[in-house]
Symmetry: C2
């Protein structure tokens, strides 16, 4: 079984790695990191680079199409070449996964029309524009479409998908493998549980901070061949 994680300039690393760390451990899984071009893809912080070792043209089909979010994903909602790649791979995928605003990329590609999905906390209202109903869940399944809430929800989503693919015993084995028995230091149970001033600070960052981040050069520019997801 093949897992293809699509990465792009300005993705959020944990969106990708949470699901990867579970799904790539499934026996027989062939995992690949894929981008528009081969090269080092810079994450949103510009301080982390991940190797994309296949490009979109090399990828004829896959079993699990996995699209993370991140501030760089917002521009891709209008990138027809990127959306075409998603549409093409989705045609024959067994599962199509979106995390955080990566769900918006699936929606922008037209894959979630008339479907239910979850996404991150500040992106919820945008799903409706693509004819998708938001459901407030950590992860959600609608047919072959598996969607996850923000960033760290990629772990829960990966474990859920593992249980669908390989059963509960295997999923619990991988859960122990990554010791996912979380104990966050603060008792808040969800975004709505957080003080309003903190909610506003995060909304402010999501609106502006992502652009500021992406305006910075990657720390490793000039050392590695840095791939850009957009032409």
């Amino acid at each position: 079984m093949r897992l293809s994680i699509l990465i792009y300039d300005g993705f959020t690393t944990l969106d990708a790695i949470g699901g990867y760390e579970v799904l790539a451990r499934l026996p027989g899984m062939e995992t690949e990191f894929v981008a528009a071009q081969r090269g080092i893809v810079a994450a949103d912080t510009r301080r982390l680079g991940l190797a994309a070792f296949r490009d979109f043209s090399e990828l004829k089909s896959t079993d699990i199409l996995y699209v993370p979010g991140g501030p760089g994903g917002l521009a891709l909602e209008k990138d027809e070449a990127f959306l075409d790649t998603i549409r093409r791979l989705d045609k024959t995928s067994t599962w199509t996964v979106g995390i955080c605003n990566g769900v918006g990329l699936l929606a922008a590609a037209g894959l979630l029309k008339g479907r239910e999905a979850t996404t991150n906390w500040f992106y919820q209202d945008r799903l409706r524009a693509w004819g998708t109903e938001f459901v407030a869940e950590r992860y959600h399944r609608d047919g072959k479409y598996i969607t996850g809430a923000g960033v760290s929800a990629s772990i829960d989503t990966g474990l859920f998908l593992t249980s669908l693919i390989a059963g509960e015993q295997v999923a619990k084995t991988l859960q122990l493998g990554i010791e996912y028995y979380p104990a966050p230091p603060f008792p808040e149970q969800g975004p709505e549980d957080v003080a309003i001033e903190i909610q506003e600070r995060v909304r402010g960052f999501e609106a502006e901070g992502g652009k500021r981040q992406l305006a910075q050069e990657p720390a490793f520019k000039g050392m590695f061949e840095v791939a850009r997801a957009t032409a």
Copy 2:
């Protein structure tokens, strides 16, 4: 403030990325991925490569020394050059962090003698050999030494350290930023809560599976300059 995440051939990605995704978002944090050599460092799965854009010799000091675990870390317990780097950077660090069997690397470097620490579930018994007392916690502080349990515990640990550095309000802001309100699909609360046959399967993998993984060539060999942590 500088955060230096040490990576090496065969590290476990989520050990590094869970803490990174929190700490690198702290305003003013200068984050770097550092290895024995500059280059692409292959994770344990051999399907993921991370760019180390500084090498140990370039790193004169740091504020947060962060050492993840992974099957590749076991060999480094006897790598005096690697341990010397940890000792050297620890001398002036404000915080020294170990996750999973990365805690064993701090211990092997002699930094945790007479101290308390947590580590991953299957590594617990090994800490005693270095004069370190294991405490069964998700994360633990002993002076400037912050230790975390296995793999995904890096997130909880990163949030805890953030609260020490910048206070609870900032930590809660970052918690919302990565939406860390976990809801794992299975109700188990810890390793001991998992069925014995699953525990045995994971112990078997930890004993042998890591070696099998590391014997594989990285999928991206020949495409990128792959760095090896050991000489």
